[in-house]
């Protein structure tokens, strides 16, 4: 049952990344996908009475926090250059 729930959350996050243009909401949907995976890992670790799952969830949370920090720093740098966070404006790879 948690398998289904986590899958549905993951797919909602994936659809959100594909269908939104606002970069901040894309970041939030990435976090949602990571959380869906966390939920699934905790479910399986309590099912099989294995503590490896929960330890790995701990590490995933730490990595997600670091990634959000760096991602938001990049986002604010982009905002300083072009005054919007629309991803459709970022079509040039060089000036």
């Amino acid at each position: 049952m948690y398998l289904m729930l986590s899958t549905i959350l993951f797919i909602i996050g994936a659809v959100g990344v594909m269908a939104r243009r606002n970069t901040i909401i894309i970041f939030m949907c990435i976090e949602l996908m990571l959380n869906a995976v966390n939920l699934l890992m905790v479910a399986f670790s309590t099912l099989h009475n294995d503590s490896n799952g929960q330890v790995f969830v701990f590490f995933i949370m730490a990595v997600a926090a670091a990634e959000v920090a760096v991602g938001l720093a990049i986002l604010s740098m982009i905002y300083r250059n072009i005054k919007s966070i629309d991803t459709d404006l970022l079509t040039k790879l060089k000036n």
Binding site: G13, A19, R21, A73, Y79
Partner: protein, 154 residues
């Protein structure tokens, strides 16, 4: 309920509303952790995600003054394609998982793996090296974020 809040995250117009719905989603997931008796992870989840990461998001949104969604939407064809692709993925995954054995929900909550003392024992015995590496990773992320955020001083 987590599904409902996640859908509101994706489909709401205002970014501030999206962030608040994401916070509610995190609280729902923390509730699921508590059902499974993973107490340490539930508290860490709320403290790290709902406490720190969402505050970061709110700060960035407030700094950029994104109260109204002012940019034009993606073309409806693209949104439809994204919806169809996601729907297909959902269909495939749910179909693949329907054949697995049905596990009763009451089997979940009776282990004491998630208690702080037990989890700490495993964390510091077998996973000591990744733990230290994670601290170095956080340090590097911190340095990187600060370096990216500095203005150029001419």
């Amino acid at each position: 309920m987590a599904i409902m809040f996640a859908l509101m995250v994706v489909f709401s117009r205002n970014p501030v509303n999206s962030v608040l719905y994401l916070v509610l989603t995190f609280f729902c997931i923390a509730g699921h952790y508590l059902i499974m008796n993973a107490q340490f992870l539930a508290v860490v989840h709320i403290a790290v995600y709902a406490g720190a990461i969402m505050v970061l998001f709110l700060f960035v949104i407030m700094l950029m003054n994104l109260n109204q969604e002012s940019e034009p939407q993606k073309s409806p064809m693209l949104k439809l394609i994204a919806g169809v692709a996601g729907g297909l993925l959902l269909f495939v995954l749910v179909g693949a998982l329907k054949g697995t054995e049905q596990i009763n929900l009451t089997q979940y909550g009776h282990s004491d793996i998630g208690l702080v003392s037990n989890l700490g024992k495993v964390l510091f015995k077998e996973f000591l090296f990744p733990f230290e590496i994670v601290s170095v990773l956080l340090l590097s992320a911190l340095v990187g974020a600060i370096m990216l955020g500095k203005k150029e001083i001419k």
